[in-house]
């Protein structure tokens, strides 16, 4: 697409580009020297607005949070004295922290698998070019446009034990109704279902874009060689999707680890032992329990977990790349 626009101006640009080459040599040396300093100044000028925001709202909070995690700072301003590793020692011995991390990990496993596989199936089906493209895209992507408040309310209502559609389906199948969100055995599952419905559209779009980038000529060549639909799927499409799948899985794991909004809202702000995520525990200890220092310490334990996952993932991808 860039190239389309670019080639429109290419004719005009060409002559000027030729001029650079012709005149460039004479002025080149002097210009490069002067340009170095000028370019440095321009570069920092270009970067300044972003770097200021980056430093103020990302780097500084990251460092300050680390400092806070070694204090007994409270929301009200009380405390704030240095307490060493006390918060971390408490966090590591806190069963609620471990339970919240476990819930988050469990949610990540439960949600990532369908969020990747369903997105792939949806994209493969839509890519076949069946009529009604806009409708398919809209159906799968639209939930992603809804605020967590909205999806939470829709699903609280679907999972309502008395009048909800979920139990309507169970009854139609001759099964016993379930108190989905109230029952600790099923509430995480209910949150996973709602989340898959809500966010699969984004992965679907990523897969769809990747599928559209596979050159049509490969399929044509395969057809002529007598390859059938399945053969083309497994010999062309699937191998070409390897890289994007790695990317989608990484993005999805990072996104799933941040579970909070929908779990918090679907349970009406009530902390359930089986659904409390690590982010919810950060929120509860900071903004409900007023213990900023402790909350910051949990944040860094969570961050450490993410970094470890990131390192493992980087090692795995590197090894894969070396193998191929």
């Amino acid at each position: 697409m860039t190239l389309d626009t670019a080639s429109g101006r290419a004719g005009l640009a060409d002559s000027a580009a030729t001029r650079t080459i012709v005149t460039g040599r004479r002025a080149g040396h002097r210009r490069r020297h002067a340009g170095d300093r000028g370019e440095q100044r321009i570069a920092w000028g270009f970067l300044a607005p972003f770097l200021v925001a980056f430093a103020l709202f990302l780097v500084w909070p990251l460092l300050h949070g680390l400092y806070l995690s070694f204090t007994d700072q409270s929301l009200t301003g009380a405390g704030g004295s240095f307490v060493g590793a006390t918060n971390y020692i408490e966090a590591l011995g806190d069963p609620v922290m471990w339970r919240s991390l476990g819930n988050t990990a469990w949610f990540t496993v439960l949600s990532t698998v369908p969020l990747v596989l369903l997105a792939l199936v949806m994209a493969l089906l839509v890519q076949r070019g069946l009529p009604g493209q806009w409708l398919w895209r809209l159906s799968f992507f639209m939930p992603y446009l809804l605020a967590s408040t909205v999806i939470s309310q829709i699903w609280v209502w679907i999972f309502n034990p008395q009048i909800g559609a979920a139990n309507g389906i169970l009854e139609a199948l001759g099964l016993e109704p379930i108190a989905w969100l109230q029952n600790p055995d099923t509430n995480m599952l209910a949150i996973v279902i709602a989340t898959v419905w809500w966010t699969v559209g984004f992965n679907f779009l990523l897969y769809l874009a990747a599928l559209q980038n596979i050159p049509e000529t490969q399929y044509e060549a395969a057809s002529i060689d007598g390859a059938g639909e399945w053969r083309k799927l497994f010999s062309i499409t699937v191998p070409q999707l390897g890289q994007i799948t790695v990317l989608i899985v990484i993005l999805q794991v990072l996104a799933s680890l941040k579970l909070f909004d929908q779990a918090y809202q679907m349970l009406g702000g009530i902390a359930s032992e089986t659904t409390r995520s690590i982010v919810q525990y950060i929120y509860e200890s900071g903004f409900v329990g007023y213990r900023f220092g402790y909350s910051a310490a949990i944040s860094y334990v969570f961050f450490a977990v993410i970094v470890v996952i990131g390192v493992i993932q980087a090692l795995v991808t590197r090894r894969r790349r070396e193998h191929s």
Partner: protein, 304 residues
């Protein structure tokens, strides 16, 4: 891979004369192939499954509260469709205010994010300066930092700046988007440098080149980035929920949450609110859906 691909591709070019029937049969075959029918049915079922929750919410929004609470009368309710729930919500006044707040704060976040990320991405893509690779590495690494880790110190910072319970306290922390810098930089890398060199020889400065050559060429990616930043900002819950207490400054998701907590059982109203809150973004998607899909493709997410 490329060698095999080239040989088959060459054969494809040579082939038309050899296998004319394979080409001629293709369209008809595609239409009636059993696999296509199966695909169509599967697609339709999934689409229905994905639309149903929303349609159900839509149907409920048009019911009376009694019908919505009892579930009687199926899709339309016993008393038939009514716009009661909508009028009741819209007359509460605050909904319009919240929608306005959501709109202007999301627009501000989008504009600021786009402006500061685009110039920074251009510098990373085209300009040479000391410490570039270290700085760029730091920006890229920060993509994995979960924003939730920062909420405590950010809140503290906002207290210090006196920005708690103000629109700017809501907006400013949301304008840092390292992922968008990465995406824009990757796009700028692909813009042919000859175009810029030409303009520079003609005497244009760096900013002039960026503004009148690079930016116009980058419209599709800028559009895609803008749409994703806007959706994220519009739907953000945690930060606006923490930083805003004043009812008149709330965004739509946070404001609706307070109403829902207050009148939790009024399903028709809750669903009407849900429909109203999602309408603007659905309209945006319907208008821009081609650009959004294409945008995702050009962000480099597209693989290869």
């Amino acid at each position: 891979m490329s060698a095999a691909a080239t040989s088959t591709a060459t054969r494809a070019v040579v082939a038309p004369g050899v296998a004319p029937d394979a080409r001629g049969r293709k369209p008809g075959q595609r239409r009636f192939a059993p696999l296509t029918v199966v695909a169509f049915v599967a697609l339709a079922l999934m689409a229905i499954g994905w639309l149903l929750p929303f349609l159900w919410a839509l149907a409920t929004a048009f019911k009376t509260e009694t019908d919505a609470a009892s579930g009687a009368g199926g899709w339309v309710g016993e008393s038939g469709p009514t716009t009661e729930a909508f009028t009741s919500i819209l007359s509460q006044g605050n909904v319009w205010l919240w929608a306005g707040n959501s709109l202007w704060t999301s627009a501000a976040i989008t504009l600021i994010t786009l402006a500061i990320s685009a110039v920074a991405a251009y510098a990373f893509s085209r300009l040479e300066f000391r410490g570039k690779s270290v700085l760029y590495g730091a920006v890229i690494a920060s993509i994995v930092i979960p924003p939730q880790v920062l909420i405590i110190p950010l809140f503290y910072e906002m207290l210090a700046f006196n920005l708690v319970d103000t629109p700017w306290g809501l907006i400013l922390p949301q304008v840092v988007a390292p992922a968008m810098v990465f995406i824009l930089k990757k796009f700028f890398d692909q813009v042919p440098i000859e175009l810029e060199d030409a303009a520079r020889v003609d005497g244009a400065g760096r900013f002039r080149v960026f503004w009148s050559i690079v930016l116009p060429l980058s419209r599709p990616i800028l559009g895609a980035v803008a749409i994703f930043v806007f959706i994220t900002a519009w739907n953000n819950f945690l930060w606006p929920f923490l930083i805003i207490n004043d009812t008149t400054l709330m965004t739509l998701p946070v404001g609706l949450q307070t109403v829902i907590s207050a009148y939790g059982v009024q399903y028709a109203q809750v669903m009407a609110q849900a429909v109203l809150a999602s309408l603007p973004l659905i309209i945006v998607f319907l208008i821009f859906q081609k650009q959004i899909v294409r945008g995702v493709a050009t962000t480099g997410f597209g693989g290869q």
